[in-house]
Structures are given as structure tokens and as C-alpha cells.
């Protein structure tokens, strides 16, 4: 069994409750931090660990913490991003549902490191039952003296609240999250200023993902150096992967970064191979926002090396032949899947979730969705495919927040790697009209119909 640091205790009966969590070594990092370490020493440990943000962008956590403005004298805040709404990603929910105290422990230790006395967990509205689990856990932590005034008799005090979102993906973007937390419309802010300088109520704020924060207790307990030895190179540590799609065992897995994609999909420890004997056709390795990979680029990179489960290897080849680790939403497709329909589905999501603030994203995402729908139902033309390409390139990079890019990339990658499937929809509308194309007739058997 590979090293697990987040899910190692997940199977202990009753681990959800405070007593069991505490009996199994819980809250040790808070004791160690508050009694033996200075806030800056913790930040140094996290820096040394090489832990990178698990919310999608992979920005080094320790570095982000060191940017927080401590000189202004304003109150500081730590906000945990539990808005997990990326299609294909469900790891944060798993953590919070099964071992809620781990996140709370991480929040206390991290808040101490940042000098924050008021911290928040922003959870998506659809996770109402998880919200209740967290509320209960926080109550238990208050009762046991881990939260509130003068924790462990030190002069450090911390209040922690859970705040429930109202069903918008965009509120996962850190500045939109802050706006929403302030009670405003969840529109992303224009950066700079970055939250580290002016975040929640204009105060210096750090926003981190649930999984990022849940790694902190282990790092404090075992040292940053020990953490940096896990994983591979700059992809230090372990990563939760939400595996779904046409695999035998979908679910949340903790992997040590550096194993091969082949092992992850095919070993019995993880996905357990494909669901039946239909072959793998495509892979979205990091949630709906990242480029899709065609079969020949899944197990090997373009220059023939093994594709590994690391930030670097998954993005090897850039957007031409690579993708991204993103948030770890790992979606596997076999050859019954229609890439056009899948792309349309993603586009529909982004069109629905755009905040509507900036013109390229507001208008462009809706336009992409409409054209993709037209192609998918057999009403498209060849020009539409080029139009899609042009629209996505007009959106990318020209928007306020990365949602615009996230809407553009899947479309671009689908056309790049699966253009023939789009052409097939245009040329043979009668074959796609029942929506069961590729289930009965895998694309490989009809590919020859497209005359170039």
C-alpha cells in the first residue's frame, strides 16, 4: 500500500466524532504548533514541504502564505475554499464528510501560522449535509477548547465559521468567494490587488483549498522535509484523485504523486481497469476545465515517456499534447463516449456558470454552447467547427477571471484531438440523430466515412 496521509485513518469507526479523532492522534499539530513553534516557523515548514495548492492552479502554499501582508496591522483571515464545483471533482466532499476534524485541525494550525483570528470555511450550498457535519465538528472543537479564546492557554484566539454558498460555481474563484462571503454578488474581483494584500473586507486574506489545508497537520507533525520526500520532484506529497467514468472502481483515491497513469487506471488498488472490454478513448485528468487527452497521449507523452500522475508530466507537451493535473477530477472515457456531446455538456456548464461580468465570457460561453449543441444534434456545418475554434481563442486570455479560459480550453482540445468526430456529426446527421452513435458503432469503425 502506498503512503497515505489524508485518508489513512478514514476507516477507523467513528473517526467523524471528536473523541475518536483525538484518540487517534488528532489535534497533535495544534499542540505542537502553539506550544513549540512560531507562526513563521510553520510557514517555513510548509514552504520546505513543497506542498502545492490542490484547488487547481497548483501554486505553492507556503509561498502564498509568505505573501500575506503582516505589516499593515490589519486583521488577517484564512478562508478555506470548499466550494468544490468543478465537474468531475468530489474529493473535498469525501474528506469533509469522513474526517471533518482533519480540516478543522488544519484550519487552526494554518490560521495560527498566518496570524488569523477569524477564519472561514466557504462550502457550496449543495453540500448541505456536509455543512452540518462541519458545524457539528466545529462545535465539538469549541467545546474541547481547540477554538475560541486563548487556545491551550496561549494568547492565541481563533473563531471559525462555516459559510454556505448558494449554488454558483464561480464562487469557487477566490475573489468571487470573498465577495460572496462579504454578502455581495459573487463577481470575481479584478486583480491586483491580490487577496494577500486586500481580501475579505479589505484585509489580508489567504484562500486555500480543503485538501491543501488538510495536508498542513501532517507537515507540522512530521516536518516539511519528510513531506517533500513523498511524491516526485516538484510534485511533492500525495494527491486525492476523484476517479469517475468508464472504470471498474470509481471513487476517491489518495495516490503518491509519481505513479504512472497506466498504473492508476489499471491496478486493482485504484481504478481497477476499464469497466468492460471497450477500449479507452479519452481522458480528462484534472476536472472539466483542463484539456482532454486522446487515447494515444494518455499512457505516454508525445515523446514516448510514461505519463505520470504529477503536475509536470500531465502538462508535458503543453496544450498541444498535454493537459493538466488541475483539481484531480479524473474522468475516463471508453469508445462509447461522444466527444462532441461531452464538450457540449461542459460548454453548457460554463455558459450556465459564467458570472456575466465581462463580455467575452458572458457572450462567448453562451455562443460556444449553442454552436456545440447544433453540431451535436446534427445541424452543424463545417464552418461551425472553425467558428468554434475562433470563438474560443477570442475568449482565452481576454477575461477577468480564469473561468473564461476554463470554458475555452476543453473546446479547443476537443477540436484539436477529435476534429474528425465533429466532422462526422456534420457529414452524417442521420447517424447521430438517435444519440446512440458510437455506442453501437464505435468511431473507429465509421472513421473511414470521412473523406478528407
Amino acid at each position: 500500500m502506498a503512503t497515505k496521509i489524508l485518508l489513512d485513518k478514514i476507516n477507523i469507526p467513528g473517526i467523524k466524532s471528536y473523541e475518536v479523532y483525538r484518540q487517534n492522534g488528532g489535534y497533535a499539530s495544534v499542540e505542537k504548533a502553539l506550544k513549540e513553534m512560531t507562526p513563521d516557523a510553520i510557514t517555513e515548514e510548509v514552504k520546505a514541504s513543497g506542498l502545492r495548492g490542490r484547488g487547481g492552479a497548483g501554486f505553492p502554499v507556503g509561498l502564498k502564505w509568505s505573501f500575506i501582508d503582516k505589516k499593515s496591522g490589519k486583521p488577517r483571515h484564512l478562508v478555506c475554499n470548499a466550494d468544490e464545483s468543478e465537474p468531475g471533482t468530489f474529493k473535498d466532499r469525501y474528506l469533509m464528510e469522513h474526517i471533518p476534524h482533519l480540516l478543522i485541525e488544519g484550519m487552526i494550525t494554518a490560521s495560527y501560522a498566518l496570524g488569523a483570528n477569524l477564519s472561514y470555511i466557504y462550502i457550496r450550498g449543495e453540500y448541505m449535509w456536509v455543512f452540518k457535519i462541519l458545524e457539528r465538528a466545529i462545535k465539538e472543537a469549541y467545546a474541547a477548547g481547540w477554538l475560541g479564546k486563548n487556545i491551550l492557554g496561549t494568547d492565541y484566539s481563533l473563531d471559525l465559521h462555516v459559510h454556505c454558498g448558494a449554488g454558483a460555481y464561480i464562487c469557487g474563484e477566490e475573489t468571487a468567494l470573498i465577495e460572496s462571503l462579504e454578502g455581495k454578488r459573487g463577481n470575481p474581483r479584478i486583480k491586483p490587488p491580490f487577496p494577500a494584500v486586500s481580501g475579505l473586507w479589505g484585509n489580508p486574506t489567504v484562500v486555500n483549498n480543503v485538501e491543501s489545508i488538510s495536508n498542513v497537520p501532517w507537515i507540522v507533525n512530521n516536518s516539511g522535509e519528510a513531506y517533500s520526500k513523498l511524491g516526485l520532484g516538484r510534485s511533492a506529497g500525495t494527491k486525492l484523485i476523484s476517479a469517475s467514468g468508464h472504470i471498474r472502481k470509481p471513487g476517491v483515491y489518495e495516490i503518491e504523486m509519481g505513479i504512472t497513469v497506466h498504473e492508476f487506471i489499471n491496478s486493482d488498488e485504484y481504478c481497477g481497469g476499464m469497466i468492460d472490454d471497450r477500449p479507452i478513448k479519452a481522458l480528462v485528468p484534472g476536472g472539466s476545465s483542463v484539456p482532454i487527452l486522446p487515447a494515444h497521449l494518455i499512457y505516454k507523452t508525445a515523446n514516448g515517456e510514461d505519463r505520470l500522475m504529477t503536475y509536470e508530466s500531465l502538462s508535458d507537451g503543453g496544450f498541444e499534447t498535454g493537459s493538466m493535473l488541475g483539481s484531480g477530477g479524473f474522468i475516463v472515457y471508453n469508445d462509447t463516449a461522444c466527444i462532441v456531446r461531452n464538450t457540449w455538456n461542459f460548454a453548457r456548464f460554463y455558459a450556465h456558470e459564467s458570472c456575466g461580468q465581462c463580455s467575452p465570457c458572458r457572450e462567448g460561453t453562451g455562443w460556444l454552447e449553442k454552436i456545440l449543441h447544433r453540431i451535436e444534434i446534427g445541424n452543424g456545418t463545417m464552418e461551425d467547427i472553425d467558428l468554434l475554434w475562433n470563438i474560443q481563442s477570442n475568449i482565452e486570455g481576454n477575461t477577468i477571471c480564469p473561468l473564461g479560459d476554463a470554458a475555452a480550453w476543453p473546446v479547443a482540445a476537443a477540436i484539436r484531438h477529435f476534429r474528425e468526430e465533429f466532422e462526422y456529426h456534420v457529414l452524417y446527421p442521420e447517424k447521430v440523430k438517435n444519440r446512440d452513435h458510437f455506442v453501437n458503432e464505435p468511431f473507429s469503425t465509421v472513421k473511414h466515412l470521412i473523406n478528407k
Binding site: 464561480i170 454578488r185 459564467s354 465581462c358 463580455s359 458572458r362 457572450e363 449553442k370
Partner: protein, 341 residues
Amino acid sequence: MKVTIDGHEIEVEPGTSILQAARMIGGESVPPAMCYYSKLEGTGGKCRACLVEVSKGSEADPRPMPKLMASCKTGVMDGMEVKSITSPRVLEARKAVTEFLLINHPLDCPVCDQAGECDLQNLAFNHGKEQKRFKEDKRTFAPENIGENIQLHMNRCILCYRCVKTAEQLTDKRVHGVCGRGEHAQISTYISTAIDNEFSGNMIDVCPVGALTDKTFRFKSRVWFNKPYNAHRNCPTCSGKVTLWMFGEEIQRVTARKDEFHEVEEFICNSCRFDHKDPKDWIIEGPRKFEKFSVINQNNYTTKLDKVVLNTEKQIVEGREQDRNKISMKAIPYTEHESKE
């Protein structure tokens, strides 16, 4: 601080945005701004029409910025070099933004009171494509009455948020805002139905398009048929400095005075705007000038319009007498004899 825009160098104060610096230089390099409004805090960054390329970050860090930057929201750095119309990337992006703003726009300029002083028309004129690629049905919104004075045409709105900021910063209580998200985001008063505040009329002036127009001017005239005059009155609430839009002796519309970037010089109150339509209320200072290419100059005071004399022969224009008669049914008498045969 020294900044160079399209090769023009200028010294500006720290904290100046690229857009402001470009406006100081003036001319072709000024990026179009559809959402930024220098008189309103927190505007800008949304429409993306003002994107520019920063080809040199600063003297200290000369690396170019990889993405195009919103010039209204990006501060200048010493030694920064910016490309506006000299960058093909920028022109491409402006074309793209223009197209995005137009795909769902109703293009009802012929019946829109804003036509002739509309920033979207100008943007489309300068950066639009002569081609339509959007085949789908345009997005429409149900009409909403937002009060006595202001007409809302949501279909024309480009969601610049200027009116929201106006209501926030000029009136004591904002009762309208943006509801919904994405394509369905719309300006609305949501629950309270009427916008009623003595400064609310300024929302009409800041709106770059015809989404908010003056109900007292509705369908009265095209702006280029009006003669604009600077005028003032002694107003207890505001500066009283306005532009009167006259048709003969009639004041058809009162607006604030707008500068060359179509921003008002001073906000005015609703009483000046809506209730003082009698020329006796005002002291007229003289004609108001507009930038050279404005269509408002069609009816200007400088060139004398002579009576139009058609030099073509009367016959060609009106046709020969007998031809006109021939095609007239009633000119040929009807006889009973005809119908019997």
C-alpha cells in the same frame, strides 16, 4: 513616471492608469472604454474593449506582460511601453470584443434614442466586422418598467455596471442592480419597482448604449436633428450646468455636459433634467461643440445649409405628364360600355 504608448512618450503621476495616460496623449491611440467611467469609483475592467498590449513592463522589470491588459485597470510603471493600435493582437481582441457585444444586441438603432451618441455604435464603426457569424436567436428580456423618468431596454444593455455604480455613489439608496448570471444577467429593480431619487437621471447619461433613456425625450427626435446649447440655471441641488437639446424654440431634452470621452463634466439633478423644459428657465451660453466626426454636427451652426436645388431636368425627376397619367387608374374614365363587352 514615463510611459510610452504607441511610440508617444508622456510623463504621468504614479497611480495613473494606462487608459488615463492614453487620454492625455489623445488621438487614435486612446483605447475605447465601454465600462470604465473616470467619475465613478470601481468602474472598468468588465467590457474588455480597452485591452492593450504591454510590450515592456517597466524599466525595473522589462518583461512584456503575457496577456493583454485592461488599460482602464492597469496602472502605469516607470518606463512602461504599451501598444494600442500598433498591436495586431490588440486590434484582433477589440474586434472580438465588439463582436461579442453585438451578437445579442438587437441592432435596433433606427428606433433607439441613443443612436448618434452611442458608444457601441462608435465601437462597431471602428472595430466591427462587416460580417455576421451568429446564427442563433438573440437573447431577449421581458420589458420592465423601472419608473417615471427612465426607460429600460434590457436587450440593449452591455452590463457595464456604470448605472449600478452611479446609483451606489450618487443616490442614497440603490434600488436596482444586476440579477441573474451569465447570459441571463440583467439590470432590474427586482422587488421594488420604481427608481426614484433626485439624482437617478444621471444613469441615463452614463449608460453607454440605449439601455437607459430619457422617458421625456422618448421618440421625440433624433439627436442630430437637435441643436445642443450649453446653458445653466441657478439650481439649489446641483451645479445647474447642462446641455439643452433644442428643436426650434422647444427644449426637447436636457442632459449633463459630456466631454470628448462621453463622460459628463458634472452630474445634474432630476429637476434640471426632467422638469425644466421651458427656455425661460435657462440662461443659454452658446452652442455646444462636439468632436469633429460626431453625427451631431450634422445640424451644426457653422456651415450654412443652402436650399437644395436639383439641377436635373424636372421631367426626369417627375416623369412626363402623359406617363404619369397612364399608370393612374382613376385618371382613365370608366364607362359602362367597357364592362359590357
